[in-house]
Amino acid sequence: MFETFLFVLLAVVTTIAAILVIVQRNPVASAIYLIITLFCLAGIYLLLSAPFIAVIQVLVYAGAIMVLFLFVIMLLNLEKEKKLIYRNRLQKVLGVFLGGVLLAQIGMIFSSVLLEGSKGKFPAEKVAALGNTEVVARLLFTDFLLPFEIVSVLLLVAIVGAIVLAKKQI
């Protein structure tokens, strides 16, 4: 009962904040609402008994990535952009319409496809007994070692790319 209440609360706040992200004119306000969305998603991950992912969500998304966004918004002078009003009504109507069609399509797929499959090796009780973080770490360093190393190379490439792109003269 309490879980359902918590889920509904978090889902409603997530949806409203997500809609506010895309309707706000000021990009700083958009970023703040996106942070609220990400925090609520972290709460939903906790409900799904994935505490490691929830903490990473707060640290990496709400922390690092959003600070980067706010930093860039502050660096750019966006006063001129805020005053611009784009009056392309057809595009707006078409965009919302296509979004609604997409939502209906995804909903139809979810309602028509059987959402069951063969169960994996980690039921929630077992993971809770072992510790969620420990299970994730054990899998990352055994079964998923190669993707893990590739991700570290990817992050290195991203660092080098960002430094090269931030030079005065490209």
Partner: protein, 100 residues
Amino acid sequence: MVSLSSYLILSAILFSVGVVGFLLRRNIIVIFMSIELMLNAANLAFVAFSRFLDSMDGQIFVFFVMAVAAAEAVVGLAIIMAMYRVKETVNADEMNLMKW
């Protein structure tokens, strides 16, 4: 107990909001935020399936998606900064240097 389909519906709503934001907004930073919304919707679906199918693979995948999202945000925002230096704008419609 909240069912799997309610989590998936929330994920679908988030993804659709992201798509609509991508289509409607012309500020490239907000377009970027819409992409983050879509990535988070996919993450939510991954974690929900991982929980209801008793598998940890979904959570590992979310870990990798987050790493890729971080790399993407860093490089994308650097490109936006470089673009702003050249064109003095963040309007996606005016970023047409590569358009014939």
